[in-house]
Symmetry: C2
DNA sequence: TAATCAATAAGACATTTATCGTATTTGGAA
DNA sequence: TTCCAAATACGATAAATGTCTTATTGATTA
């Protein structure tokens, strides 16, 4: 079966050229659609998420490739993301991988290398341009660098932390309000504020994020 | 302020005697109520959870002290539980502590020791009869023993595990159904079955339990 | 002193969840 | 081959949750 691919790239010419080259090169690939930015991509995925791999540019208006990758990994864990970009600095690589990218190729890669990458990623591999791979290893050698993500400060208030703790125990609003001696309305408001601060919109996501950032 | 105490004990005479002795002995204690079994206790707590400490017997009809302790720790994490019982075998001690008991006293303890225990527990201590304490240490010395709880087999099916994984990522039913290519109804049914098998009744509890037992 | 912020509380509304019951299909075990 | 568990699916209903708005109080700070 053909591998279904989508591409997120704001430069029309470049997107068309990649698409064209890949299609000329093989017929193992089924190009589903192209999005011109992260927001566009997410919108299209909501309608038609039946895609195996996304070629993702980093620099895009509206919503950049890293944030988009984060959203894709969150909502569609089955979809593999290959960053396809001109940037090769450690920071970008690191952040892309943290966001959930499964591969990282440079745009000057030849079409057959890109095709290899797509196939590799479908087999659970992690395609990377040579330069990228070694930088990735550099990052791995310095675990302090990798440890800088957690411990982020969302400045939850004391009360919010208490509520969060109770939330994480699986209690509902009423039980929490009983335990903290405040009204259910207040519990709701606290939770609403917690969601805003953590940028999530349900309990499980809040707890996950809190764990990840060592708030729990 | 007086310490509010409840007692769960199926033997009328014994319960009355403990209550009487403690009240005679001091006026630091405010006896709220007595329950004659675990179910009764939980019912009374639902109405009036404003209790600081519960003296809990292990052997009780309807719902035993260990299960009741589990339920209390789950729903009212603020309430401290002191097991007050004649059993001193390692297994009971271990399971009581696992269930969330904060102290473990033998029934032949003198009233003033019990009173000490109640005060100690309110200060974050862990009152234990001497024999119990050393057995508790024995258990701690054998971590394998302590590790026997997890890894329990809830025999979730393959599909149920997949659903559980998605649940743990904070996805809602629709997203999960998209990702697994099944209808939302089916996702709901799977989750219903997961809840039954894990004996929980919401997402967060399911995820907690799954983590605890290494299903995730 | 005025401006903020944390904590409290409530109402309204749409959406999501949790719990039932019921039913069909399918692959493997007895 | 019959039986069963697992996976699929739908409907109904009540409860819980998520989102928004508005408002009061007390503490802190600019």
């Amino acid at each position: 079966m053909k591998i279904r691919v989508a591409i997120a790239e704001d430069n029309d010419l470049l997107a068309a050229s990649i698409e064209e080259k890949l299609c000329l090169f093989t017929d193992d690939i089924n190009f589903r659609y192209r999005a011109s930015n992260g927001k566009d991509l997410l919108r299209k995925l909501e309608e038609d998420h039946v895609v195996d791999t996304i070629l993702m540019d980093i620099e895009m208006p509206e919503l950049d490739g890293i944030k988009a990758t984060e959203a894709v990994a969150q909502s569609f864990p089955n979809i593999k993301v290959i960053m396809l970009t001109v940037f090769d600095d450690e920071d970008k690589i690191f952040r892309a991988i943290q966001a959930g990218a499964n591969g990282y190729l440079l745009k000057d890669e030849t079409p057959d290398k890109i095709l290899d990458g797509i196939k590799m990623i479908m087999n659970g591999g992690a395609p990377m341009s040579p330069g990228i791979a070694s930088k990735a290893l550099d990052i791995l050698r310095n675990p302090e660098r990798a440890t800088e993500t957690p411990g982020k400060d969302f400045s939850l208030s004391k009360r919010e932390n208490e509520v969060l703790l109770q939330l994480s125990r699986g209690l509902d609003y009423n039980k929490i309000s009983d335990n903290l001696f405040i009204s259910p309305s207040t519990v709701r408001k606290h939770i609403e504020n917690i969601y805003k601060k953590l940028q999530v919109n349900n309990k499980v996501q809040a707890i996950r994020k809190a764990y990840k950032h060592k708030l729990l």
